[in-house]
Amino acid sequence: MNPPAYNFAYLDEQTKRMIRRAILKAIAIPGYQVPFASREMPMPYGWGTGGVQVTAAILGPNDILKVIDQGADDTTNAVSIRKFFARTAGVRTTTNTREATVIQTRHRIPELALSQHQVLVYQVPIPEPLRFLEPRETETRRMHALAEYGLMHVKLYEDIARHGHIATTYAYPVKVDGRYVMDPSPTPKFDNPKMNDCAALQLFGAGREKRIYAIPPHTNVVSLDFDDHPFERYRHDATCELCGTTDSFLDEVITDDKGSRMFVCSDTDYCETRRVLAKTAAHDSVEEAGRG
């Protein structure tokens, strides 16, 4: 048996064209879930096969790829996907958010504002925002077609009635371009405002559920809420112990079994960049003091 030879970025060109057609349709109808003939990828469903297929379809030889999971470049699955494309496409990879042209992500949006030359590719487990309210695809497609979103508002209202808060903390539903209610993938709602009027193209791939959707650059994205219960971001009320920032989304790290904990940035590149800058600034001021 000869080992099989794979095409650039793994997928064959015919499949890539099929995915690109779905992506173009998704961009044309912001927030609408476009069915596509998702392939079995060499990683399991649930590991980002939708995001991987979208990335494979848009990647060119000159792209610079960044992959994050939980905001971090060094989590095992991010490492694995980055290696997959380094191997099958031979593209340059980076951890630097600013430098990347394609960023594939699971569960986070980078802290740094993205720019127009970038594409953010989200891995999506359940693309249907109404799924847990109505399990049937035939029903939810009809609800989207009629823009019948009352059920979602009832759910959010019931949260408030029961808990005093909207009890959705991640995968918080948004309305895109005033039309489709969309699942932002399980990002914390802290990240929702970053989707609005974003300069970068945002693409969402759900492999197992065979759906692609998109938010074109500078599209209006609104988190669902009520006048008397406006949407609120949430972050731990703490400071990153590594870089000292007070505005990033934080991971809580348990440091012993006696209740000690520390908070660090979930976005590792953001944190590292801040630390490097702080070090250079400190170095410069020491030099300046030396000269003065």
Partner: protein, 368 residues
């Protein structure tokens, strides 16, 4: 460590090496060859080919070896490989009526043209552990059966001649064959796509669903009209030469169930059917596929449909074990961003609860 803050890459590499080491097991024990797997774990290979949707015994054996005998993992390996193969077209419909039969039984007729052929089956064996197999042993040569010369018409065709059963759907030449690996499945799904989904579906899941129809959840009164196993020829219509050329012969198992149907004022009562077809010798899968196929025809036949096995969206959306195992097992991936967000909300709600409780206490104290 699960997520080393740095070193995820090295951890993955080391895990892969450890896996390869574990797969090999004790190096003093001779390594399994693909032909051993293919020849002696025949039914495992058959299942992997069926649910992997690729008829290649050698690759299926390789997948089983690589997966350490985990058949769902092996099916996944074969599927991922299949996804990269170019498509040349679809074969001509396979004629199971012309099958070179190794086994053919009908539970509906005591005897029938072509006869009952038991073939290699576990049925009627006593399930006693055979300690003779614990050491290398030679199986006695089978008694040679006379090569069946009589034609073996399908039971469903015999019944159809009397119009007692609905006729087979006619082939529609020129009509594209549905393929859910090329076009995403949408609902309601036509029967060709349903059957494709069931053929690829997990044997255990379908077994439980088929079983449930027998226990009253969507009862369809099945008889095993016929089960046949043997070699069939696969032909491909070649544009260049203008006729169908044989590609080769494959082993398949087909099951046709005969099910009841009451008819209506405009239609005389006749039997309906369920259909199952799999690669290799997957008899259990073929039978259960036929049961579930028939259950899923409730809408088409105007039957009440409120059992799980009759619910097309439920069955077809959850039958694929590669999808199911992926999504269930993805819970192992880190979810700490989402968990942190939930943790924040729970802490806040608990603080509010505590504050309200304290208020209640102080109000009570003030009242006293």
């Amino acid at each position: 460590m699960y997520v080393a803050v740095k070193g995820g890459e090295r951890a993955i590499e080391n895990a892969h090496r450890l896996l390869a080491h574990e797969r090999r097991g004790d190096p003093l024990i001779p390594e399994l060859s693909l032909s051993q797997i293919s020849e002696q774990l025949t039914l495992a290979v058959d299942r992997v080919m069926t649910e992997g949707s690729l008829y290649d015994r050698e690759l299926a054996a390789l997948a089983i070896k690589q997966a350490r005998g985990d058949l769902i993992e092996a099916i996944f390996l074969l599927r991922a490989f299949r996804a990269t193969l170019p498509r040349f077209g679809a074969s001509e419909p396979v004629d199971t009526g012309a099958m070179t039969v190794q086994r053919r039984i009908s539970a509906a007729f005591k005897d029938l043209p072509g006869g009952q052929v038991l073939g290699p089956t576990f049925d009627y064996t006593h399930r006693l552990l055979d300690h003779a197999l614990a050491v290398e042993s030679e199986a006695p040569a089978p008694t040679a059966a006379p090569t069946p010369t009589d034609a073996m018409p399908r039971v469903s065709d015999l019944l159809a001649a009397e119009d007692l059963i609905e006729s087979s759907p006619q082939a529609e030449p020129g009509q594209a064959v549905g393929d859910l690996t090329r076009e995403p499945l949408s609902f309601p799904a036509e029967r060709d796509l349903r059957l494709q989904n069931l053929a690829r579906g997990d044997e255990g899941f379908l077994l439980a669903l088929g079983y449930s129809t027998q226990r009253g959840y969507g009862r369809t009164h099945p008889f095993a009209g016929e089960i046949r196993l043997g070699e069939v020829e696969v032909e491909f219509f070649a544009e260049e030469v203008g006729f169908a050329v044989p590609l080769g012969r494959i082993v398949m198992t087909e099951c046709q169930t005969i099910n009841q149907f009451h008819g209506s004022s405009t239609e005389a009562p006749k039997f309906t059917r369920g259909y199952g077809l799999v690669f290799g010798r997957g008899e259990r899968k073929a039978m259960t596929m036929a049961l579930v196929d028939r259950a899923l025809r409730a809408r088409e036949l105007g039957e009440e449909a409120n059992a799980p096995a009759q619910d097309e969206e439920f069955v077809l959306s959850h039958s694929d074990n590669v999808q199911a195992t992926g999504f269930v097992e993805h819970l192992k991936l880190p979810h700490y961003v989402d968990f942190q967000a939930e943790l924040g909300l729970v802490r806040r709600m608990r603080a509010e609860f505590q504050a309200a409780a304290n208020d209640r206490v102080s109000v009570q104290e003030a009242a006293e």
